[in-house]
Amino acid sequence: MKFRVERDALADAIAWTARSLPSRPAAPVLAGVLLEATDGADGPSLTVSGFDYEVSTRVSIGVAVVTTGRVLVSGRLLADITKALPPHPVDVSVDGSRVAITCGSSKFTLPTMPVEDYPRLPDLPATAGTVGAAEFAKAVASVAIAAGRDDTLPMLTGVRLEIDGDRLTFAATDRYRLAVRELSWSPADPSAEPVQVLVPAKTLADVARSLTGGGLLTLSLGGVGTGNGSEGIIGFTGGGRHTTTRLLDATFPPYRTLLPTEWTASAEVDVPQFVDALKRVALVADRGTPVRLDFAEGGVSLSAGAEDEGRAEEQIEADYTGDAITTAFNPTFLIDGLTVMDAPVARLLFTTPTKPAVLRPLAKSAAGSSSDGNAETGSDGLASEYTYLIMPVRLPG
């Protein structure tokens, strides 16, 4: 095998593939990346693949192929090397059990790994539809933050993805907060039956972030019983990169009933101002102790801490309607939700101090017609489609 490739294209491809390699591989070959040089109908190309039985990654880049072939080398080492190469074309060739990498005047030789032991990557399942890669990444990030990290509750470590016609719905919860986001997309078959799957949250967030290059993202989903080995797998393709991940075999709890349909008080707050105030007041809140919020007409006062420790207080303006309410939240949970919703103004909806509060982004300025009960329907039609539900902390007494 022998080929010449542009330095940046190679470095990007290797770095992306190596990123999802396991740090403690189940088998030594899984620490490798597979390099395959082919000369197909679309011209000569190099395909770089990685796999750990959960997540597979594959990216193709154009090269000048001299001879075709495949070789397996340590992914981490190759990533470190390609990242450090000088800006010159890179020549890669295999000589017996060694790979030579030449770039300008630097030359590396690496041992190869037994390519015949490398597992076959799963095929991409059937295409389900396409979605804007940037919107997809934003939607995933805004929901994945609420996913659980406790492996003893596996059903909460995933993001539930619901596909129904031209709507995608993402949902995740760790029992303390619930994030739900809707997004429109272009299904391959608009009349397909609705599908619900559970994707590992961390993998999904990584994938979504790394596939924003291509403008559009293609989702593929294995139909049950198609017999092609792609059941239980979801695939993502964008900008020449393909990745698959195994779906979680667990049932996401019914969550729609958690969303309150009515509330007794609502507040509109400036998000950056509120987040900054929360961060300041939270400085005196010990690990896991709450920030107390007193909402009343005209504003909200934040406080945290205790008399014998540190105490902090701050007031900010808020457009508040309803009876005064005192409630308390884990500041991290609150800051998470406000930050990911990516809006200048947020609306908070309350019923009682021990019931969940709803956070929604307001796309337009708070000075607008806030009396309208559906004011959170923003002008871009998307801002309304995010809901962050947060359980309060019960205060003593």
């Binding site: 509750l153 619930l178 019914p254 690990r287 896991g288 969940p356 309060p392 902390v393 019960r394």
Partner: protein, 422 residues
């Protein structure tokens, strides 16, 4: 407890009691509490040396005053205690019983003032400033408490009365057992000066050795030492802390309801454990017992910690803080086992295992992160079924062995042997 018991005893509960002006802090300490509860339960033990503790490699949890005459002290290894006092009656601790009596003791305190800071089951600080108008001078309040504890519960306690918590605690230790001692505010310095440095809060064997190196044997000598000398020898924080205490300065307030900072169970094994599966079984037993004790106080722990001591006495602890407090043995065990498994021990020799609950809060009173109700499958770490409470009730009626996790039920052969013993 052991150290202070070696100090000469003082007592001044008579009518000519010392001046208790500006001495609103009471330290009430039950006398040999666990042992006294056992003696009350079985009066034939009265006057005999009684040691509450377990196993040949366990430690003394409490010793009756008769046993202390032989030199037996709390926290002493059982082996040593039994060499000192071979005729002692050894009783396994029954924490449920001690908790229940403790609640009755604290109920008496609560009648006096709401300013009660529980330190442990058998010890509390009371700030009686607000009760003086209604219930009389601190000395009269202390006498009333002692009379009620003895009259209603058949137990004795000792009370130290002083202007600060630290002095009050020293005073109660000095008048034990069954005593009362006032350290008048004006005489605080005179009271402290002759005490050995070990009487100061925070001075253990190591610090005492450092102080001895400076030629400091008594509290009075510390009080007269230049601050810089102490800071250099002990570090800034501890140097200042000791100097303040030695001069009778203790700004700590009585903080009601603080209660115990942690509750722990631990067990030293007669022979080192080498099988991780057996170690997990012990963790289950300890977690189950810890859950009962945490529930008995109506508390929940937000931090769960394990302690592992190896055959070579190397000791490690690992802890995890949870978003919600837990009080259920199974939930505690889940955390304890994860912490234990994460140690990745290869062929360990385990001498001691312990499980501890920290950051305790009262179930209903404490700050509590609320969670969504997502159904039974998505409910851990706390089992919401009230199973723990049911187990507690069953155990209090039918005995501690009545209801246990299945894996802790002995194999059939030993079960038959249990039944054969009347």
């Amino acid at each position: 407890m052991g150290r202070s018991a070696d100090l000469p005893r003082q007592h001044n509960s008579g009518e000519d009691a010392a001046d208790d002006t500006d001495c609103p802090i009471l330290h009430v300490d039950m006398d040999a509490f666990f042992a006294s509860v056992e003696i009350r339960r079985d009066p034939s033990l009265a006057g005999r040396p009684v040691i509450v503790g377990g196993g040949t490699r366990g430690v003394v949890a409490a010793a009756s005053y008769r046993a202390r005459e032989f030199g037996v002290r709390s926290a002493m290894p059982m082996g040593q205690a039994l060499r000192l006092c071979p005729q002692a009656v050894v009783i396994r601790p029954d924490h449920a019983a001690y908790s229940s009596v403790s609640r009755e003791v604290f109920a008496i305190f609560a009648d006096v003032t709401s300013q009660v800071e529980g330190i442990s089951l058998d010890e509390a600080f009371l700030d009686v400033s607000g009760a003086i108008r209604r219930a009389g001078r601190p000395v009269e309040i202390a006498r009333a408490i002692r009379a009620r504890v003895e009259g209603e519960l058949g137990l004795t306690c000792s009370v130290g009365i002083a202007s600060t918590k630290f002095i009050a605690k020293l005073a109660s230790a000095r008048c034990k057992p069954n005593g009362l001692l006032v350290v008048p505010a004006a005489e605080t310095q005179a009271f402290l000066r002759p005490l050995p440095v070990g009487a100061l809060w925070g001075v253990g064997a190591q610090t005492a050795a450092v102080l001895a190196g400076l030629g400091l044997q008594t509290v009075g000598e510390i009080a007269g030492t230049p601050p810089d000398t102490l800071r250099r020898a002990l570090g800034v924080a501890q140097g200042q802390h000791l100097l303040a205490l030695a001069r009778g300065i203790d700004p700590r307030q009585v903080t009601p309801g603080t209660g115990e900072k942690s509750i722990s169970t631990e067990r030293t094994f007669d022979r080192d454990l080498t099988d991780p599966a057996l170690a997990r079984l012990e963790l289950l037993r300890l977690s189950d017992e810890l859950g009962s004790r945490v529930r008995a106080k109506g508390l929940r722990g937000r931090t769960i910690a394990i302690k592992v001591r190896f055959g070579d006495f190397r000791t490690i602890t690992r802890s995890r803080t949870l978003p919600e407090g837990i009080d259920d043995g199974a939930a505690i065990y889940r955390i304890a086992r994860e912490l234990f498994d994460a140690l990745g021990l290869d062929q360990p020799r385990i001498r001691l295992l312990g499980v501890r609950a920290d950051q305790l809060g009262e179930g209903a009173e404490a700050v509590e992160q609320l969670a969504f109700d997502l159904g039974a499958q998505v409910a851990p770490p706390q089992t919401p079924t009230g199973l723990g409470e049911v187990m507690d009730r069953a155990r209090s009626r039918f005995g501690a062995q009545a209801l246990r996790p299945g894996s802790l039920v002995p194999a059939p052969t030993s079960a038959r042997r249990d039944q054969a013993v009347p």
